[in-house]
Amino acid sequence: MAHTLKNLDYSVLQQCMHCGMCLPTCPTYDTTKRERNSPRGRIALMRAVADDELAITREFADEMSYCLGCLACQTACPAGVNYAELFETARADIEQSGINHSLERSFWRGLTLRALFMNPRVLRGVGTLLRFYQRSGMEALVRKLKLTALLPANLRRLEPQTPRICSKFSHQLIAETEQPSAPAKYRVALLTGCVQDLAFSDINRDTADVLLVNGCTVHTPPVQSCCGSLHSHNGETDLAVTLARRMLDLMPPAEYDAIITNAGGCGSHLRHYTHLLADDPEYADRARAWDAKIRDIHEWLMEIGCRPPVAVPSAEPLTVTYHESCHLAHGQKVTQPPRSLLRLIPGVKLIELPESNWCCGSAGVYSITQPEQSALLLDRKVQHIMATGAQVLATSNPGCHLQIATGLLAAGSTVELMQPVTLLARAYRNENLPQTSS
């Protein structure tokens, strides 16, 4: 059965008793102070659709597109409203209604959701082409000749944010199975992600390294599909279901103690395969087992008692502040482990970032679909980061990483972006260097 607001269990909508606790945590309500731009306002609109009081209109579609899907409201909600489910159902409903359809949009959605992010090999192929373009000097030439002016306005603005493609992808850096030097205590699977694989494969290497140090056998399938997060957030439930099945086939949960993700946005979706595959007799049980074994890397390391490194990650002491990816903090409720992990590292001083769990405006494809609101949030984030005086911003989601890096660069900031696992991996690596006596 199609996922629509009308056939959704009505009690999920009723769960919102409109107390308003979500209002001060919603970045869009904070901007406009209009109820429809708030979580309880959006839920009221969804309920009106379910009640036949409102059709799926252009305005309704626009409103669901204006929502970041950051899920800060879900953290704030004492009543336990499942906003993520409501939001994804509303977006699926909108897709099915066809109200957003246009030739140009269908082309881009088809290219990304149906072609690129359904076929990991094609995605890497495109990544390779992009890498050639970036490194051969063509990109520099295009920019110098201002040929980017030929791009549509939306893409032109985002062009500088195109991720730098890594020289090697994850499978060229990480063997399919790697064993720790000491006897293994755990067996884990490592998810390499899509953007993470193309733009941050070194972070995947760092993740594998810290797992190995902590006694885990790391299994990393060389070709991994998208987890379906992108599809689910954009109303393509059927594609998300297909991708979830593929994941379960590739990494049967029964074979591992944990399945590790290091990207906040993916992790949030990866924990919800049970719901996605509830009606699938063949996969339902495995999906439940899968959800129970998904761990964010920081969460897993703290759970198994991460060994504090005895060396420092860099010669100079580092002041680090931490930005929380929405889907790690609000989607997965992992807030303390990344901080605890940073505190384990000698030579790192962690200072709190004001509004650390406030969205940076990346939010999947939000920076493309809602450039103005995205820029507002990025600016706010960058101001806060710079005001801390930290040298390093730690975060753990490729979307946030790219967005904030662009913002800091534009603001002329020298703050360096790094993921907590990278700092940890560097410290471990330095343990093997000859120590200078102090």
């Binding site: 009723q14 008793m17 409109h18 102070k33 336990g80």
Partner: protein, 460 residues
């Protein structure tokens, strides 16, 4: 039905086109407040930017006989800001400036849309304190607090919103702007008119600016959590603390159902197996606080507390208070609809009412979670039900009637801090008696003869 185009045009002339909402998608989310089961679509929603614009909108509405419902953040718990008829909703959240903090006179002046917690934060910058802290402190507006005379967790020691209002700017039903009260500690020049508007629920005038009294910020604070196996022991503890001549700022009570729901949300390690929990807080001079905290802990233990836990630091105190503030919404986890009550009795009668509520719920086969301000005799029995189940809703109504009757028998009131609004007006005459009820109506009729301000609230 939307308002006529000619009227919308004139409204747009006053507040600007962008500040007039009429589209269905824009106005549907203004059809409710924080109260369950009340829903009504507004004719239009406008966002005035200053007092002059409020007055101009009211004048226009008065000329055209259009009802007006004023709204802040829409967190009310009696349906006070739910639209009536094809009304004009005046949403005042954009008038949110804190205009002045005066440390010499210990006052703060703010526009009506300022968020309550921002008021206290502005006071804190000067080492000052705005004590009233309703559960919705992070969301509600100060104007809404004045209109509802909101209470909070510190009522026992510090009183309620009324005790901190020194002056008001009010737009009257005909559009005149009046200023009532001033920064003087003493003022007996005529009737205390400001008091008429505090708690008037938007039915007499529209509060656009407030002058508030501040206190020095307490230097120390100690928060404790006492757990009990018997509900009565918690009530006895409260009586014994008061008898010992201690006035704590907070004595909050949660029953088992509420504890379980709050813990499911907040995950702060509340004991879910105890029958009742008392959140106690004392503040003031460090020496007095240390002394009182010690005595309160001893009294709690002497009256059957299983355990008394003292919050380690300010962060833990805040965590406990925040968890308590989430109680009402957290109860909504259990069932689709939560019907919240606000009955209040003299403190000495509280234990009787607590027992009566539990017994009544059981007799009508209803789920209830009860929490509240034990030091104030103010309880929030919350029925967990489903509005689609007519038979059960009927039983809820019967139970509520019985609880109200019992409350009044004990010398209590149908509402301690939420207001009458739509939710409690069916019982107002029962509480006041005919003469007092008519006196109230007379005042309403005198100030608002056409019944244009928040019609249908408090009384029909």
């Amino acid at each position: 039905m939307p308002l006529a185009d000619s009227i919308l045009t004139r409204l747009a002339d006053i507040v600007g086109t962008a500040n007039v909402l009429t589209k269905l998608e824009d106005i549907l989310p203004y059809g409710f407040d924080g109260t369950a089961t009340f829903k009504h679509r507004a004719g239009a929603v406008v966002f005035p930017q200053n007092t002059a614009q409020v007055a101009a909108c009211v004048k226009l509405a008065a000329e055209e006989k259009i009802p007006i419902v004023t709204r802040g953040s829409g967190t009310g718990l009696s349906g006070g800001s739910v639209p009536s008829g094809d009304c004009l909703v005046l949403c005042l959240v954009q008038m949110d400036a804190i205009l002045e903090v005066d440390p010499r006179n210990l006052t703060l002046r703010a526009q009506c849309g300022a968020i309550t917690i921002k008021v206290d934060e502005a006071a804190a910058v000067h080492g000052l304190f705005y004590p009233p802290d309703p559960g919705s402190i992070k969301i509600s507006t100060i104007g809404g607090n004045v209109a509802e005379n909101s209470g909070g967790l510190r009522g026992l020691k510090y009183g309620v919103t009324r005790d901190y209002v020194m002056g008001l700017e009010v737009v009257m039903p005909d559009g005149r702007i009046v200023r009532l009260g001033n920064a003087c500690v003493k003022d007996v020049a005529g009737y205390s008119m400001k008091d008429l508007f505090i708690g008037s629920e938007g039915t007499l005038g529209i509060v656009t600016e407030v002058l508030l009294k501040l206190l020095p910020r307490p230097a120390a604070r100690r928060t404790m959590l006492a757990t009990y196996d018997r509900m009565e022991s918690a009530a006895e503890t409260v009586s014994a603390i008061i008898a010992a001549k201690i006035i704590p700022c907070t004595l909050e009570f949660l029953d088992q159902m509420t504890i379980r729901c709050v813990e499911a949300y907040a995950k702060i390690g509340l004991p879910t197996d105890c029958a009742a929990l008392l959140l106690m807080e004392t503040d003031g001079h460090p020496a007095a606080v240390a002394d009182e905290a010690e005595q309160m802990a001893a009294i709690a233990k002497a009256h059957g507390a299983r355990e008394v836990k003292i919050a380690a630091d300010a962060a833990e105190s805040l965590q406990l208070a925040s968890a308590r503030r989430s109680a009402f919404s957290a109860l909504a986890r259990m069932r689709p609809t939560t019907i919240l009550e606000d009955v209040t009795v003299p403190r000495s009668e509280l234990a009787k009412l607590v027992a009566f509520i539990a017994e009544t719920a059981a007799r009508h086969r209803l789920q209830v979670g009860t929490f509240g301000h034990m030091g104030d005799g103010n309880l929030h029995p919350t029925f967990l039900t489903d509005e689609r189940d007519e038979a059960e809703m009927e039983r809820v109504h019967l139970a509520l009637n019985e609880i109200v009757a019992k409350t009044l028998e004990l010398g209590g009131t149908i509402t301690g801090e939420h207001g009458v609004g739509l939710a409690k007006k069916q019982w107002l005459r029962q509480q006041l008696g005919d003469d007092s009820f008519e006196l109230m109506r007379q005042i309403k009729h005198t100030l608002d003869p056409h019944g244009l301000l928040n019609p249908g609230k408090i009384f029909d």
